[in-house]
């Protein structure tokens, strides 16, 4: 199942990756061959089979909803390069900075 170059560009945009021309060609080829391999699943009749989305032990469960002490803002921000007081600073989402 060959992916087109356009499809690879579309997926890259969705995952916020900018690919070089070399990467595009390589990923187009490699992803196509992986998809060819995984397509063998479609030969199985899974009508009526429940999907498994996770392995939840019968013994797993939600914890009691009790307040507890979390990380301090300073800890949470310790790896951030762009910050302002106790907040992460991000570029504007809407419009330019001087609007």
């Amino acid at each position: 199942m060959a992916l087109t170059r356009k499809e690879v560009e579309h997926i890259a945009a969705l995952v916020r990756l900018k690919l070089s021309d070399t990467e595009l060609v390589e990923f187009q080829h490699q992803l196509s061959s992986i998809l060819d391999h995984v397509r063998s699943l479609q030969e199985l009749d899974t009508h009526g089979v429940e999907p498994t989305s996770g392995i939840l032990s019968a013994n797993a469960g939600l914890r009691p909803d009790e307040p507890s002490v979390g990380l301090t803002p300073a800890r949470v921000l310790q790896n951030a390069r762009h910050k302002n007081q106790d907040q992460f600073r991000v570029p504007p989402v809407f419009g330019a900075r001087d609007e």
Partner: protein, 488 residues
Amino acid sequence: MSELTSLTPRELTSLLSARKISSVEITRACLDRIQSLEGNLHAFITLAPDAALEQARLADKKRAESRTDELSPLLGLPIAVKDVLSVEGIRCTCGSKILEDYIPPYTATSVQRLVDAGVVILGKTNTDEFAMGSSTENSAYGVTRNPWDSTRVPGGSSGGSAAAVAARMSPAALGTDTGGSVRQPASFCGVSGLKPTYGRVSRYGLIAYGSSLDSVGVLAPSAEDIATILPVMAGYDPHDATSAKLGAPRANLDGREDLRGIRVGFPEEYFSEGLQADVEKAVREAIARMEALGAEIRPVNLPHTKYALPVYYLIAPAEASANLSRYDGIRFGLQPDSEELLERFVSARSTGFGAEVKRRIMLGTYALSAGYYDAFYGQAQKVRTLIKRDFESVFGEVDMVAGPVAPTTAFKIGGHGNDPLAMYLEDIYTLPANLAGIPALAFPVGFDQAGLPIGMQLMGAPFNENLLLGCVHAFQQHTDWHKQKPAI
């Protein structure tokens, strides 16, 4: 090799407990050995010698001030930790440039429990980027070399941990196993490695790759060594909603000396085309040895085994594509200066991620996208159910299932070139246990013609780690594959 570094965790903890050696002596011996071998093997991404010696001094002080019966059996034992598990204050890279300077503000529960027990952390071991790989070649910090042959890979993704244990740089190490990443490197490096049941060990603080598959495991020379470490790190954790509300398994191995009464399943699907001849021979001989020790060997069928590879390479990338969306260049890790938001995302991710990570998040996003979801991700989830049912039905007839860990022994560095699918095929025998969530224990059972270690695995029903560890311990009392060391 110094006397001390040639000892196993079990031997070291006995000597510590008898106050015949100190943690500082052992820790220094490990750090010296790391210093002499690291240039060749490159098992570590980050070393923490000063913190390790400080922890060792504290352990010795605690022992001097307390009665032996009040102390944890692991007090003062050094270990290495795979660089995907968060340890407060020690950088955690996940083998990726995108986390080159990341310092975790908290410690993973599995590690914290060991630290609370007085374990000494030597450093963080090399891994394929975000644990995606089977050779450690996908690390942004360079490949780890196999201690048995430095032209070969140690396996992956916990390749640094496996090499560190095999070369006796560290008595034991933590790894993680999402599709075989503890067992395959253990097998390639001639050590034992346990992937516990999903939910047995908390994933809190394990930097996520495939959340429904990830598990934290242990690598050490023998099953007995693993059995001393697992109970300390296992057990329910309120910080991980998927952790099972069970106590930790018992630390004792029920004194089993043989395998009488144990029914071992022999699945023909695990002895298929592509299995290296001397791997097959060694595994069959080990199974015959188990039979000689009293086990009853029964043929069993796991008919959906061949679908594990396509199922895994849809589900794991799909989960990875969601988990890795957090690397946005804003809160931690690589944070470009761009003042345009989209550009910041794109710049951080395009320069921070390596090729395999890019491939998997693209593959996962495709499998989850509208129009392809049912045919790919949805179908994979249904076939995962069939794989799980295969095991449920087999565990009605036998206590465990035996098989090889990997189709080959350690391959040459660069041996799979630029062919991701060839690399994925290394995982065919390890993936089913992750998809079914069951425990599996890899252990050495021989050497190939080139002198490279061969491993086999026993897979058990959920939460039956102790049975697996007990049976392999019995096997290891009658064999000495686990005592062989590389000549370095």
